[in-house]
């Protein structure tokens, strides 16, 4: 991974929402190796919302798996949007299966290309 890109994530605080443990653990480990403080991972909308609630103002980005066990992640996306926190979707679905209201957020198709994910997270992270 390009040094410049990974430098951009150091010290960032990112929420990871992903219901598949192996994917969540791998993503968490990858982000932590780039100096990211990972909130989560969360496997459900409920867990994700309470993590956001408890994270105060530290949270400055998120990686959201669209399709969780028996629910969609959109309520989490709504709360993040309301708080002005940028996020990236990850999904195994085609773009057509995503409601139009959420099509403007960057979308990483599974299996995740981490270089692309990091590039997007770096670009969206200049909020602070």
């Amino acid at each position: 991974m390009a040094e410049l890109l990974s430098e951009g994530l150091k010290g960032r605080c990112l929420l990871v929402v992903e219901d598949e443990y192996l994917v969540a653990a791998d993503l968490t480990a990858s982000l932590e190796s780039l100096g990211v403080e990972v909130i989560g991972p969360a496997a459900s909308v409920g867990e994700a919302l309470s993590l956001i609630e408890n994270s105060g103002s530290r949270l400055d980005g998120a990686v959201l798996d669209i399709n969780l066990r028996s629910e969609r992640v959109y309520p989490v996306a709504d709360v993040l949007t309301a708080r002005g926190i940028p996020f990236v979707f990850t999904t195994g679905y085609d773009a057509v299966a995503i409601p139009i209201a959420y099509t403007c957020a960057p979308r990483c198709e599974k299996p995740i290309d981490k270089t692309q994910l990091v590039r997007w997270l770096s670009n969206t992270g200049s909020r602070k």
Partner: protein
């Protein structure tokens, strides 16, 4: 100017396509023209003074048809005669003729007739074809219709009437549009313009079913009747119910999207397993062995999933498949005990449990119960029916194993991570992994929905 009699004789003698002959009141031939010679095969001198009834078939003679004809002619002034006649050589032809009484009392009759076999047979064929069409059109499940090239209907089949509840007359002209979904009517009508230039009508539209008021998708096709020009002739059309087909198509789209989603998720899992195996591998060789073994465990779960129709896996099948992959032949069976009730696992639970069991089995083969001659392995589970959710309580118990030194290994392995972290994270399971004095013990408590219990 020839006199009437001369003129008459001239006409009669020159009419070679018409058989013209006269008979006396009893049917004996009194004149027989060239046309009659040609048509019936009897020469004039053979017929004069002889009964003309020989031109009738034996059946008609037996039924007294000749007498009836003469009777009709004398009563009504004429008798039409359309029937099969017989030539001298016995061959038959369809004759179309007329018998009239000659003027004057007891003067007899004149009969004029000609061969109409071809026309008769063409007519017969037409009637047969029409009958065949009606039979076909009224017995196939499709709704059949005849129409003008502008879409104005001239005949609706009984099936159409039964399906739409629109009567025969109400369906004629553009009346049939009444049964088409209002949103589809314009397209239905417009398609006729295109049809005239293409020589074929095609549209998919919704047709109202009288029985329940539902609109069902139909595929409607029409073509000009054979051999006629598209712009002027009658067209024949069929309307086929494609509601089920369209339902299946949309279901297929959903399934394709779901399949793609699952495939990508599975690849994500493979990617994660690869990354995590890389992190814990000291060499490419170690990575290759471990990654291959984990991939096969994942593949076994997928294999089980592919074999079941309702996308649930029985826990017993999962445990057995995992152990079979690690045991080396029948001798192992006496050292392994597997027991528990039938429990259906959803795909995600099956995958997570399958991978955890794989790690337990791998370790048992390498260091535990399946590596040592005195080792025993028991995999048992029971279903605890609680409210609101039931729980599967699974026990993995190795015994007769001499453990290396005392206590647990220094570094927690991938198996421990799967059991202690993945299962709680993914299945809300409660797990406990212990390295007992005579072998590994693992307890897994997985909440399941009530319908997972079967058998």
């Amino acid at each position: 100017m020839p006199n009437k009699e001369e003129l008459f004789e001239l006409v009669v003698e020159s009419s070679i396509d018409f058989a013209i002959f006269t008979v006396d009141p009893n049917g004996l031939t009194t004149s027989w023209n060239v046309g009659a010679e040609r048509l019936f095969g009897y020469a004039e001198d053979q017929m004069l003074g002889r009964s003309a009834d020989v031109i009738f078939t034996a059946e008609d003679r037996a039924a007294a048809a000749p007498e009836e004809e003469r009777y009709k002619a004398s009563m009504h002034g004429r008798a039409a005669d359309d029937r099969w006649h017989q030539r001298k050589d016995g061959s038959r032809f369809w004759a179309s003729g007329l018998m009239m009484p000659l003027r004057g009392e007891d003067s007899g009759f004149v009969k004029i007739t000609r061969d109409r076999t071809e026309q008769h047979q063409a007519g017969e064929r037409l009637r047969e074809n029409e009958q065949r069409f009606r039979l076909l059109a009224t017995s196939i499940p499709q709704l059949v219709f005849l129409t003008r090239p502008d879409g104005s209907r001239t005949w609706p089949s009984p099936q159409w009437i039964a399906f739409t509840g629109l009567g025969f007359d109400a369906s004629l002209g553009v009346g049939w549009l009444e049964a088409i979904h209002p949103d589809d009517r314009e397209a239905t009508q417009n398609a006729w313009q295109e049809a005239r230039s293409k020589g074929e009508y095609y549209i998919e539209h919704r047709v109202r079913r009288e029985a329940d008021g539902e609109y069902l998708w139909h595929q409607t096709r029409a073509k000009p009747l054979a051999g006629e020009s598209a712009a002027s002739s009658d067209w024949v059309g069929t309307m086929t119910d494609i509601e089920d087909l369209r339902g299946l198509q949309s279901r297929q789209h959903v399934l394709m999207a779901e399949l793609q989603h699952r495939t990508r998720n599975l690849l994500s899992v493979v990617q994660s397993i690869a990354n995590q195996t890389i992190r814990s591998s000291s060499s490419l060789e170690v990575f290759g062995t471990q990654f291959g073994s984990r991939l096969r465990a994942l593949s076994r779960v997928q294999g089980l999933l592919a074999r079941v129709e309702d996308q649930v896996i029985d826990l017993h099948a999962l445990v057995t498949a995992e152990l079979a992959a690690h045991s080396e032949g029948g001798a192992e069976s006496s050292r392994i005990k597997v027991a528990g009730p039938s429990v259906a696992l959803p795909p995600t639970a099956a995958q997570a449990l399958g991978l955890a069991l794989h790690e337990l089995a791998t370790n048992a083969v390498k260091y535990g119960a399946l590596a040592q001659p005195t080792g025993q392995l028991e995999v048992t589970w029971e279903l605890k029916a609680n409210k609101p959710t039931s729980e599967i309580a699974l026990q993995w118990r190795e015994s007769g194993v001499s453990m290396p030194q005392a206590g647990s290994p220094k570094r927690k392995g991938y198996g421990s991570e799967l059991i202690e972290r993945a299962l709680p994270y993914q299945l809300s399971a409660k797990t406990q992994l212990e390295f007992g004095p005579d072998g590994v013990r693992c307890a897994i408590l997985v909440p399941v929905s009530a319908e997972s219990v079967h058998g």
